[in-house]
């Protein structure tokens, strides 16, 4: 089967800055794929290359087999992009905006689908509002609706939940998951790692324009050994345990342990020091731990010796 997105040795430089640096990435049809990385890692630039909003300095990008530069009409037909910036056309109502967007994609009578999309995004009662009158969250919903106006098989969302209330996040994810189950491929960038962990089957992590990790979410989360222990103690932590501290507030601690076997000695140490455990919970490592670890390793690897 053709990959939904195929990125081969793609390079994009802005002056001396390597925004995207020889990236290879293949996303299969039907995947829910996450693209993570700190600010400035090159996520948006990579999406722009995919969408034809930026032209690559080297390498090739294709969407469902169509080259995004040479066969841009086909590739853009198959791609729906929710841009990161909250942009809108101030002259039009929500419905006009969505009709125009359908028209750009060659769809004449698209109102049934427009109504359905508006319904799923809770936009129906705002259909005849001018774009200028909408709140930021509402504008974000319209951006999502615009990206979906032509029912693209590949959907790209660039930080769609940045600064968006919990309610929209829930309804948005319900809808996007539904589309994914119906066969749409989804590529997502987000700052909320728990969101990526819950939604994405595979994840690539980007740093300074390079892919520094690429695996299934399960494998990535499993790649961090050990666990974390959250403790509320009756007194201060014994000095020997201080190197394990990740977070601390008064006598509340978050400790990182190399494995579950380290739990027993930890409790013994506390007992010997005469400190009582008032509350305790053990946590599995999550994507955030992986993320921090990968970014740290990538940072150290990049440091000149």
């Amino acid at each position: 089967m053709l990959p939904a997105v195929d990125v081969r040795k793609v390079r994009k430089h802005y002056g001396n800055l390597r925004a995207v640096d020889d990236v290879d990435l293949r996303i299969e049809q039907g995947e829910f794929f996450g693209l993570l990385g700190p600010n400035g890692a090159g996520k948006t630039t990579l999406i722009n290359l995919l969408a034809g909003l930026a032209l690559p300095d080297g390498g090739q990008v294709s969407v469902m087999g169509y080259d995004v530069v040479r066969q841009y009409r086909n590739s853009r037909m198959l791609l729906g992009v929710v841009p990161q910036e909250l942009v809108f056309d101030p002259f039009f109502t929500v419905r006009e905006t969505l009709r125009l967007q359908s028209g750009y994609f060659g769809l004449r009578r698209n109102d049934a689908w427009i109504d359905e999309v508006m319904h799923h995004l809770d936009l129906s009662d705002k259909a005849d509002f001018n774009m200028r009158r909408l709140s930021g969250g509402m504008k974000r919903r319209v951006l999502v609706a615009q990206a979906l106006a032509h029912k693209p098989p590949v959907i790209v969302l660039d930080e769609p939940t940045a600064g968006v209330d919990v309610e929209l996040r829930r309804s948005l994810w319900r809808f996007i998951r539904q589309l994914n189950r119906d066969g749409h491929t989804v590529l997502l960038t987000t700052h909320y790692l728990e969101e990526a962990e819950a939604l994405c089957g595979r994840i690539a992590m980007l740093k300074q324009g390079k892919v520094v990790a690429l695996d299934s979410t399960q494998n990535l989360v499993g790649s961090v050994p050990g666990c974390r222990v959250r403790l509320r103690l009756s007194g201060g932590l014994p000095a020997a345990l201080l190197p394990r501290v990740v977070e601390r507030a008064d006598n509340d601690y978050l400790l990182a342990l190399p494995s579950y076997q380290a739990l027993e000695p930890l409790l013994a140490e506390l007992r010997e020091a005469g400190v009582a455990v008032l509350e305790m919970s053990v946590q599995q490592p999550d994507l955030e731990d992986v993320f921090l670890r990968v970014m740290k390793v990538a940072h150290e690897a990049a440091r000149p010796c």
């Binding site: 969408a51 032209l55 791609l79 942009v87 002259f91 028209g103």
Partner: protein
């Protein structure tokens, strides 16, 4: 094809939604010119035999308005959507560069003609120039506004701020229109300025347009047609190449 049509509709809708600024205010400006210049010069100037100065002035003013509005439309619409970011919706869609070009140019021609027609109808109250060859009038209005619309596309893409666009307007469009014989026949100019006017494409647009009214002109309407068509082809080719390259639009 539907992409072109939709983009055209969007551009025309934009003109309608801000009609006060895009249609009414340029018509009022042109009428003010007419009022003042005709009042001052009516008694003193007769350009063509038997033609009152006010009647002579009307076609020039109409064409000037047509040209300025065609330029203003494509350039300000583009820079506005670049600044608000709304241009991405078109850039993300499978709109070809020539559909993009045709949509912006056609919408600007429509606005130019609409404003021109408004000025003409309102001016009839002051004087009634003859209408010798209406097809020549229409032809020059369409070609001239298409040329300026195309220049407007280039200006809109190149400019990053409104001041840069204003610079275009104040240092290129305004001087060239004022030195093109809107308010006078170039035969009334000293030899040097007469020669210089012949290098100004605006002169041919205005002169050819005026020929359609009076059946008389400073140079042959066929020469004007050739010059204006040539300029339009060159400008369109340049604009299409710029759009195809993605210059300042696809970074």
């Amino acid at each position: 094809m539907l992409s072109f049509y939709t983009l055209l509709c969007k551009e025309v809708l934009r003109v309608q939604k801000v009609a006060f600024q895009t249609l009414l205010s340029p018509i009022l400006t042109a009428l003010l010119y007419l009022l003042i210049f005709s009042h001052v010069l009516e008694q003193h100037v007769e350009v063509y035999p038997g033609v009152r100065y006010t009647a002579f002035l009307i076609p020039g003013l109409v064409m000037m308005t047509v040209l300025q509005n065609a330029f203003a439309n494509s350039s300000s619409s583009l820079i506005q959507s670049k600044i608000t970011g709304g241009i991405v919706f078109v850039l993300l869609a499978p709109v070809t560069y020539w559909e993009f070009f045709l949509a912006y140019v056609t919408a600007s021609v429509v606005r130019g003609l609409a404003v021109g027609a408004g000025v003409y109808l309102a001016a009839l109250w002051f004087a009634q120039p003859p209408l010798q060859f209406p097809l020549w009038i229409l032809l020059f209005a369409v070609l001239g506004s298409a040329l300026l619309a195309s220049l407007g596309v280039v200006a809109g893409i190149w400019s990053e701020k409104f001041d840069q666009l204003a610079g275009f307007q104040n240092f290129i469009i305004m001087p060239l229109t004022f030195l093109s014989g809107v308010f006078y026949s170039i035969h009334s100019l000293p030899a040097f300025w007469q020669e210089l006017s012949r290098f100004n494409p605006f002169f041919y647009m205005i002169d050819g347009f005026r020929y359609g009214f009076f059946g008389a002109s400073d140079v042959s309407p066929w020469l004007s047609l050739a010059v204006v068509s040539g300029c339009l082809l060159g400008m369109a080719g340049f604009t299409l190449a710029l759009l195809k390259s993605g210059y300042k639009l696809r970074l």
